[in-house]
Symmetry: C2
Subunit: 207 residues, 2 copies
DNA sequence: GTTTGTGAATTCCTTCACAGCT
DNA sequence: AGCTGTGAAGGAATTCACAAAC
């Protein structure tokens, strides 16, 4: 709870999960929750939840628990989710198109407002009301539209080059769908979506 | 290196990454690598790589490094990837169809050989040569075809129920695409693919 | 009586550093 | 000389346990 102590990244990774569980409970009509009940719901220990929250402040009441609605609000603010984040997609092949059409982002405040590809035959085409631009226009477009998040859906073979080329733009966070382990400078935040890796680590536990 | 010491899960999660980097280097013509070079490539410390590998055996040669080809082979064996894993998909909506058509699984040994849905109008339909069956047939089909892995692409609202219903089948691992935090008994292994959660944890670091 | 918030204790993971092999 | 494999050291994250608040 000191204002600017460093918060472990594992904690940050759990907060969205808390929000999600809390939201679900709220929509089921519940208004108050204890760390015990939330922990039970998410299969984490109550102590962990309390400790995680304590990095940011004191949100509960002894003997009572947490008011769900205001806890959601606090966590939303902490993560910077109380606003819309405009983002762009790079690579508009099969996967890129599926991502553009995925309805799960907008309700959570993530809106794809620009699309880029390097295939000349695609440029100018529209997908879900978004015009596909040449990849050369990333830097300027991103600057003009204040986009900080890029979603990467290019082939593995060029993903590293694209990431490297994003370094000197206004892009600060990358959600990478290409099945590679890219090198990123620590000025960029990266998360990988990689179902194959997930599968490969599960088979260890199967006989 | 004791035969049956318990290996931390974080280690298991890194092994597929090692395989991937090694494969790439092999395909670029390299035959030998040091922990230093591999660490540099993946942005992890050389000591961590050596320690990770030491849980399973001694694969390098002092003064020389690791023979890439045989290290890949060893890791592949350790993870149980030296075989094909037949799997099934549950939920054949837009997302499910995209997953069935995703070309990245088969080359890695993961083949979707059965599909299930609860929408009567879809049953009997074929997607990419796979017939959609009623979700009621999961238990028997999975048993007959020796399927241990299920890929879940159902709506969030029914995902938990589907997972629960898988408990008394031969399914032992679930790759879940539904945006929920499901409760799973510890007899099941679960990995979530959840781009929204990834995005939500990145915004914390953006101003 | 219940449940939080938090220092202290514990457990887990990473890194160090060097003996030993090539 | 170069690099692995590994105990030992160090650091990080989790859990304990209890005083304080309701």
């Amino acid at each position: 709870m000191p204002k600017e102590s460093i918060v472990p990244e594992v904690v940050i990774l759990r907060l969205p999960l808390y929000i999600r569980a809390l939201s679900q409970m709220l929509s089921e009509g519940q208004t108050v929750i204890s760390s015990n009940e939330l922990g039970n719901r998410l299969q984490v220990t109550p102590a962990q939840i309390r400790k995680d929250l304590s990095y940011f402040g004191r949100f509960g009441k002894q003997g009572r628990g947490y008011k769900i609605e205001s806890l959601i609000e606090e966590l939303t603010k902490i993560l910077g989710l109380n606003r819309q984040w405009d983002s762009c997609i790079v690579g508009v092949g099969r996967l890129g198109k599926a991502i553009i059409n995925y309805p799960g982002f907008v309700p959570e405040g993530f809106k794809i407002i620009a699309a880029f590809d390097n295939d000349p035959s695609k440029i100018g085409e529209n997908v879900n009301e978004i015009e596909i631009l040449s990849i050369k226009k990333i830097k300027s477009t991103v600057e003009k539209k204040n986009i900080k998040i890029a979603i990467l859906a290019v082939p593995a073979s060029i993903a590293q080059d694209v990431i490297t080329s994003l370094v000197d733009t206004k892009i600060k966070a990358i959600l990478n769908y290409a099945p590679i382990a890219p090198k990123v400078p620590d000025t960029l935040i990266l998360r990988n979506i990689d179902p194959v890796l997930s599968l490969q680590s599960m088979t260890y536990y199967l006989d």
